[in-house]
């Protein structure tokens, strides 16, 4: 019996009458992912370059393959999209570590960043006054309006595809995109303000 059940709760052990058809997920083996990777090697390289990889693009592609081949477990439904997303994340990690290294160098040489530069720093490097931040962010979300808040919640916390959110709300996909942009704009603005304070 699972924890948290009220005392005296009986499990439902009914006859398993029917089972509805389940959608099938095509199984993608590691070798399949590898095939897609090498078939799209040039495209992925172009994508990394577009992200500003410069001379490091080849090395980063290598790094991408190591990351993907060691972490992909289970079926990958859309292998090419999966690889693009991994490449995107890799470039974000790289951007962050470059910024952090630059900041460390600046700190070591005794150059303090002043208030006006702070907004440019990736947030999260400084200790955050978490509780206060949460309160302010919460207020901002509450202010955004019901539909925007609902869409944002479904997207950012529940991880529901935007097309499905559009269906749930009975609005178009572009309306959901607009709502989410509004939500992000408000939230990021709040966090920047807090960071500058």
């Amino acid at each position: 019996m699972r924890e948290g059940w009220p005392p005296g709760t009986k499990p439902l052990d009914g006859t398993h009458v029917t089972s509805s058809p389940r959608p099938t997920v095509s199984r993608m083996s590691d070798t399949g992912l590898q095939a897609v990777f090498f078939a799209n090697r040039d495209r992925l390289l172009r994508f990394l370059a577009a992200h500003g990889a410069g001379d490091a693009a080849e090395d980063l592609l290598q790094e991408l393959w190591i990351k993907v081949s060691t972490s992909a477990s289970g079926p990958v439904a859309q292998p090419l999209s999966y690889l693009y997303r991994a490449a995107n994340n890799l470039m974000l990690d790289r951007y962050r570590s470059i910024r952090q290294a630059a900041k460390r160098d600046a700190d070591w040489s005794g150059i303090e960043t002043d208030g006006s530069d702070r907004a440019q720093d990736p947030i999260g490097e400084r200790p955050l006054i978490a509780r206060e931040q949460l309160r302010i962010v919460q207020e901002e979300l509450d202010r955004m309006g019901d539909r925007v808040a609902f869409a944002f919640r479904r997207h950012r916390i529940d991880g529901v595809p935007q097309k499905l959110i559009a269906r749930e709300l009975g609005v178009s996909l572009s309306t959901v995109e607009t709502d989410l942009r509004k939500a992000y704009q408000a939230l990021l603005e709040v966090r920047r303000r807090l960071d500058e304070a």
Binding site: R22, G52, A130, A149
Partner: protein
């Protein structure tokens, strides 16, 4: 931060890409790449915003939305269904919010007309997706209570052991143990199906535990209870216009379609009891006649609604 209009435009576009790329369904990588290539600043601004988005993880999990009722909207013309995609836009119309004079003042109703869908968010992280022709009673003072007067709702409840969420359905009570479940109340019965986690049926009396994939049907008279298994990922499939049946009578199918499609769907008496197995996908509620072959019957318009009858 002083920003000229070019910079502002790049910021706006970058944010739009953050939102789009974040979508689990996103596939348009070529267009994204093309945008990145236009100007090296694009990648720079995108990186900064995408990392700011990532950092929201620190604060968001603790966020609980406040109770929400959307303002009343004018009902669209009933049969003005455009093609699917934009079609669903018409579904969210005419939410009726009525105060109940006889009940406690903190209680209020959220009701949908047939063919409409409504998302309701409660404090404490509960969301309810209300199907058409449904009425939900909520409590301004107690966000862990709801009553389904009629119709259907898909409940996603964040569990809080100190304040379990209780749903009243007629004389019955369902209490969550951290879950997503679908409840239907019709004139003749109550059905509950659990997609995730579990609920307890009438904790004060029967104490029946319903776990993932369990379905319980209780006749309105309270004398007949039937339990069965369903595929958990099919629970609440109606929100995507999908209906899954494993031998339910056509009368029940017609009832589901009426609630969803916004027009009354009847079955001729000789077919009402005929069992139906299969998955129905309603892309366009104005073309229900296409379902005929699936039912091995004729589906035709009758007045404002539809009739399923023998071919």
């Amino acid at each position: 931060m002083a920003m000229n209009s070019d910079q502002q435009a790049i910021e706006d576009q970058a944010l739009a890409w953050v939102v789009r790329v974040r979508d689990t369904d996103f596939e348009d990588w070529d267009a994204f790449e093309a945008w990145l290539c236009v100007n090296p600043d694009h990648a720079e601004v995108y990186h900064r915003l995408a990392l700011e988005d990532r950092d929201l993880d620190e604060v968001l999990p603790a966020w609980t939305p406040k109770p929400v009722v959307q303002p009343q909207r004018r009902a669209a013309r009933r049969w003005a269904w455009p093609v699917i995609g934009t079609a669903v836009a018409a579904l969210l119309v005419g939410v009726i919010v009525v105060r109940m004079p006889e009940a406690a003042p903190e209680r209020y109703q959220v009701a949908t007309r047939a063919g409409e869908r409504r998302a309701v968010t409660l404090a404490g992280g509960t969301t309810v997706l209300l199907n058409g022709a449904s009425t939900l009673v909520l409590d301004r003072k107690d966000s862990r209570f709801a009553e389904l007067k009629q119709g259907e709702g898909l409940f996603t409840v964040k569990h809080d052991a100190a304040h379990p969420f209780a749903l009243q359905v007629g004389q019955d009570r369902l209490v969550d143990v951290g879950t997503r479940f679908d409840v239907v109340r019709t004139g003749s019965e109550m059905r509950v199906a659990v997609a995730e986690g579990a609920v307890v049926y009438n904790p004060a009396s029967q104490k029946l535990m319903l776990a993932e994939g369990d379905m319980l049907r209780i006749a309105r008279s309270g004398t007949v209870a039937m339990r069965s298994r369903v595929a958990p990922d099919q629970v609440g499939a109606w929100r995507e216009g999908r209906f899954v049946y494993a031998g339910e009578p056509l009368a029940r199918v017609a009832e589901d379609l009426s609630r969803y499609a916004g027009a009354r769907v009847d079955v001729s008496p000789d077919l009402a009891g005929q069992p139906f197995r299969g998955v129905i996908s309603v892309a366009d509620p104005s073309r229900l006649e296409e379902l005929g072959p699936l039912f091995r019957a004729r589906v035709q318009r009758r007045g404002d609604g539809w009739l399923i009858s023998r071919r």
